[in-house]
Amino acid sequence: MEVNGQLALTVLMGIFLIAVAAWLARVEDWRSYTPLAGGGAVGSTEQYVSEEKPSGVIRWLTTVDHKDIGILYGAYGLIAFAVGGLMVVVMRLELADPASTLISNTFYNSLLTSHGITMLFLFGTPIIAAFSNYFIPLLIGADDMAFPRINAIAFWLLPPAALLIWAGFFPIPDVIPAQTAWTMYTPLSAGAGSGNQMNAGVDLMLLGLHLSGVSATMGAINFIATIFTERNEKVTWANLDIFSWTILTQSGLILFAFPLLGSAILMLLLDRNFGTMFFAVDGGAILWQHLFWFFGHPEVYILVLPPMGIVSLVLPRFAGRRLFGFKFVVYSTLAIGVLSFGVWAHHMFATGIDPRLRASFMAVSLAIAIPSAVKTFNWITTMWNGKIRLTTPMLFCIGFVSNFIIGGVTGVFLASIPVDLVLHDTYYVVGHFHYIVMGAIAFAGFAGIYYWFPLYTGRMYQVTLGKWHFWLSMVGTNLTFFVMVLLGYGGMPRRYATYLPQFATLHQIATVGALILLAGQIIFVWNFVQSWLEGPKVEDGDPWDLADDDLLTSEWHWFDRKLQTAVADGGEEEAELATDGGERIDDSQSSSDVSSDGGEPVDETDVASDE
């Protein structure tokens, strides 16, 4: 039986490799000899000879164009967002009543683990990579990324990573989903004890996580090289845009954090499969926590800095003025980047580590609130007396700032040791970080998706549905996660599928909030897909009328050139200038209010540094 299994595997692997070789040979022939053979080769005709990309599915499989890869990342991230979101809907439904009624406790634990890992590694990091891949080369005037093929490899590592992370849910015999939570604390994750976490499902999840880390590291190296070496000569460090600054800082953090996660995961795999004792005898269970959080806390900033960059870029466009204190927003980004490596043990205040160490980590954790507050005040001041246009991307930016304040302030309390010892491992922590990851990071992602929608689709989304999406998301987020803060004050512990009846009302409110969020996201998916396919075409290279306030950035110049050089096909519907609803308010105001809005241009130095 064993031999038959190996034999079957060998045959399958052989067939697969031959198929790959055959396919590659076809592509080779096709590419090399078509020009000479005049279209005689497989699947190709002369018309492709001068084109940049093959057609059909092959285009997407072989593309090394940063814009295509950005779209692939975006599609991947949104699919992962849907999967992770549906997982948590099942969990919230289970939590609608105190007992374990809908799903088993172990399945709840599996969903809990996968929801966290999916949202952080398969949605958060990729959706940021979607924006950075598409826009960094456009913003800095580069032809493409520094290493286009590595860029493609980094993306294509992600689908196998997702399959491995979710493998436990697939009907594979003897494989169960991991139930370690996303922090994978030892000794549970090392398979010790009489539990079921020695299962291969945990190994598969660890391998998938390792792959996603390799992918992120490759991407980070690529962005650092691109921003350093591929800038247009007109783009200097002095006038580099804010989004590129945040991506550069984020890439630096990835470069130091993710290889460490990869090493720690390999050590854990060795402990599980090859009899090493890294987390049993040599370093003990606490070693894992140190290694994990040395990665894990910078990971928070890896996820939040680029969204802050998106907000810093988009928010001023609809406030009618340049970003207030541009330089200080850049400095605070760099400060957060450096400080983020000195705060990891604030996740471990309750583990009994040396109190003097604890105090130093408390000090740094409180200190990191300062650059975060610098950014917040700069966003608020940018809007102050500005010519606000409440378009959908702007609404999401303002929502970001609002939620970030609540998420940030709750975090400051957690950084304080005495408060943390009371609130540790309660729903307060869950509420706090969900305000950041959902309320802030995802909101900034939506702001970016709506803001650049005309650019990457050539069409405009449906304005009313965009507004519905925002308000349902805003209400749902605050309902769900503020209730969690209250649950935490009441002493409700995290990660449980069941709870005492006294928490029922608040849990039910949180479930209602989650369902409101779900309704909002369904509207988003409908709007996104339908508008991409059928939305009114954008004919203007400046759909947000940014030129009026001299706020046009280089990616819109690129878009304008693209529109002007596009071949007119003549067969489309009438040319309709599509704009978001927020525009109209501006139109009525702009003529009368221009001289009195108080948000008039700032001094020359600021003008130079924001472009």
Binding site: L17, L24, S32, E51, R149, F155, L157, L211
Partner: protein, 121 residues
């Protein structure tokens, strides 16, 4: 025409290799972790072969055979460490070495037959 021009010859923004590099890594990892000989060998071949192809396509190396030989050398060292030292993961080590041998053979075959054929055309 170039000896083995890239896909980029015609399509400047396309390459067939990255997707197979990315597939080769998880397949070989699975094979090595769970001691599945065919997966380990196949995954390593897919990974190293695609790396060699990509190096050639992007012009970092001139000869496909030599890059394959260097990659095979790395596999021999890695496999040797696994199989013949205190690490003592014998079957996994052999899998890596077999992948190296196949890679080397593949390189020689490519050099002797395929490349000449291409030049002839």
């Amino acid at each position: 025409m170039d000896e083995a021009p890239g896909l980029s010859d015609q399509y400047r923004t396309a390459s067939p290799w990255p997707v197979f590099v990315a597939l080769g890594i998880p397949i070989s990892e699975l094979g090595l972790l769970f001691d599945l000989f065919p997966l380990a060998v196949g995954g390593l071949l897919l990974f190293t072969g695609s790396v060699a192809g990509m190096l050639r396509e992007s012009g970092y190396v001139k000869s496909t055979m030599w890059s394959l030989a260097v990659l095979a050398g790395i596999l021999f060292v890695f496999g040797g460490v696994l199989a013949f030292t205190d690490v003592n993961l014998v079957t996994r080590g052999y899998a890596v070495i077999v992948a190296g041998v196949l890679l080397l053979v593949g390189g020689v075959v490519f050099e002797l037959f395929v490349r000449d054929q291409r030049q002839a055309i």
